[in-house]
């Protein structure tokens, strides 16, 4: 049979970037189909149900929040490009967050959606550095971070030209890295700028019902624009003739053809689809040019019978912590590195008077080593998960006000869950459990095939707003702008 379905554009992966690209392309009359292997959309930012509860994965907060009326920022661009009214996301702002360093978090820098708070904190804690800090901020503000032609430069090197204090440097890098860096120790400066703006100059917000609100809006826009989707239907391989993709082989063995293929699944993951080998191979480096990311994470999720504030924990939204003399943003030698991490309290956004999440949530994220989780047998895996759950939570507690009694947390706990690097690979297909993908980004989204482009994590715009903008930019740049 040679009547296989043909699309103008096939999009691999229905995460934030694939959905955003799909909306653009469908809106402008392209025949588009999204192919998603999982049964739910969202990719790295999704949710799942367990015992009648909905758990968010990925998203702690939507970054890049700006108030209505502020223009020219990523959030505004995104809303315009996708024809979304900002009311549809119903974003509620964070209360306040902090960066806590030292064995008990003695050194603390607070920040909110008002940049003056962070600036004031730096001035008070590091008076000798405030002028340099302001110069750095000025540089960040004027840097063209969405340029598709930027030359890579070390962010550490640029920051050190302005800030000469290792503690302050590490404190500033900690949230920026934890919320988006695929690279160990350092970042590319353009990526640092994107994240610095997203976290500090703009800010955090969350819809009352979490990430599913955003996904619902995106799916609805996509459907209205006439986009098609096929769930539980991944792409096994991309066949090519010369330098062009000719067809996609789907998981069920059927074939589809497309003029353009936009892949949101990651650079090495896409390269594997373009290689001739259908079976996963021993050495990925044989078929993948892009390195697989080395950074993965675990997250513990604790559901409480009361809001976290009722445990005496205050109303901080997100706490980035590190107990050591230096920040070790790197692949841990052990299964998990609990020395640094992120605590998130989804209850502590300003949802409006009398509007509170029905249960308390306490989430902690730490760096993890994929290889040490990947090949465990089921029993060891469960045992290690239990052990590290306790360890991660114990580490995080050091950065929170002490509980009135030691067993208070366990008495308040009604449910727990945890994801590991193995969970990430299972549900997102990212090699190495690498949430932030490959350390080598492909700004222009080009691949070895002329009509296959990357969008999402490995194109290199970070965060969930970045992911959506990546889908938009690549759809514009490779397909719409060229009138193809």
């Amino acid at each position: 049979m040679n009547s296989c379905t043909h699309y103008d554009v096939a999009i691999i992966g229905a995460g934030m970037s694939g959905l955003a690209a799909g909306i653009r392309l469908a809106h402008f009359g392209k025949k588009v189909c999204l192919f998603e292997r999982h049964n739910a959309v969202g990719g790295l930012n999704s949710y799942y149900s367990l015992d009648g509860r909905k758990y968010d994965v990925g998203l702690h907060a939507m970054t890049n929040y700006v108030r209505p009326g502020v223009k020219g920022t990523p959030l505004t661009k995104l809303l315009r490009q996708l024809r979304i009214d900002r009311e549809e996301f119903a974003l509620c702002e964070q209360k306040q967050s902090r960066i806590a360093f030292g064995p008990q978090g003695e050194m603390s820098l607070g920040f909110t959606n008002d940049f003056a708070v962070l600036e004031g904190g730096v001035a008070a804690m590091f008076p000798a550095q405030i002028d340099g800090f302001r110069r750095l901020v000025q540089l960040v503000r004027t840097h063209d971070d969405v340029s598709l032609e930027a030359r890579p430069e070390s962010a550490r090197a640029v920051v050190r030209r302005h800030i000469h204090n290792q503690l302050l440097e590490d404190m500033l890098f900690c949230p920026v890295m934890y919320y988006g860096s695929a690279q160990e120790h350092d970042m590319e400066f353009g990526q640092f700028v994107i994240m610095f703006k997203a976290l500090y100059l703009e800010g955090f917000a969350r819809p009352f019902e979490g990430v599913r609100v955003i996904l619902r809006v995106l799916q609805e826009k996509y459907r209205q624009a006439g986009g098609e989707r096929r769930m539980k239907c991944g792409v096994q391989c991309i066949t090519a003739r010369g330098d062009r993709a000719t067809a996609l082989v789907l998981d069920d063995g059927s074939l589809i053809t497309a003029d353009h293929v936009l892949s949101s699944i990651g650079a090495p993951e896409t390269e594997r689809l373009m290689s001739d080998q259908l079976e996963p191979v021993g050495a990925l480096s044989d078929v993948c040019v892009s390195p697989v990311g080395r950074l993965s994470f675990v997250e513990t999720i604790t559901v409480l019978d009361r809001p976290p504030a009722a445990l005496g924990w205050g109303d901080d939204t997100i706490i980035f912590f590190n107990d050591s003399a230096q920040l070790h943003y790197e692949q841990p030698a052990t299964q998990v590195d609990p020395r640094s991490g992120v605590i998130c309290f989804p209850n502590n956004f300003d949802y409006g008077p009398g509007r509170d999440l029905p249960e308390g949530w306490f989430r902690c994220t730490c760096l993890a080593n994929y290889a040490q989780w990947a090949n465990l047998d089921e029993e060891d895996y469960r045992g290690d998960k239990r052990r590290w759950f306790e360890e991660v939570q114990r580490s995080a507690l050091r950065f929170l006000p002490a509980l009135a009694s030691p067993d208070m947390l366990s008495r308040a706990t009604v449910a727990t869950d945890m994801f590991t690097p193995r969970t990430i690979t299972k549900f997102t297909g990212h090699f190495g459990g690498a949430i932030y993908g490959s350390p080598q980004k492909h700004r222009q989204g080009r691949t070895a095939l002329a009509n296959v482009y990357l969008c999402g994590t490995d194109q290199g715009f970070l965060g969930i707003v970045g992911a959506m903008l990546s889908g938009i930019s690549m759809a514009n740049y490779h397909i719409l702008q060229k009138g193809k």
Partner: protein
């Protein structure tokens, strides 16, 4: 189509792609970019919407013609009229 109608077409498109902009006092002879917060992504959308809604093609080299409402009307009105004549 008159030039004024043509300006209205462009304004209606801008109202849809940038609903957060106040369009009540747009000066026809001043560059749109100088009085509204529009970037290259927004201009791409004006071009794309013209194609989608009216089948009007604006090649990339001629985007510059859409700089102001006056220049847009000057450039687009003959295209609209040629299209209408073609249909008749």
């Amino acid at each position: 189509m008159t030039k004024d109608e043509c300006k209205q077409v462009v304004l209606d498109i801008i109202a849809d792609i940038a609903p957060d902009e106040d369009l009540s006092n747009v000066k026809p002879d001043v560059r749109l970019r100088d009085q509204l917060q529009l970037d290259s992504m927004d201009f791409l959308d004006i071009v794309m919407e013209l194609r989608k809604r009216y089948n009007i093609e604006v090649p990339e080299a001629e985007y510059i013609q859409l700089a102001s409402l006056d220049s847009s009307a000057e450039y687009l009105t003959p295209k609209f009229n040629a299209l209408a004549a073609g249909k008749g």
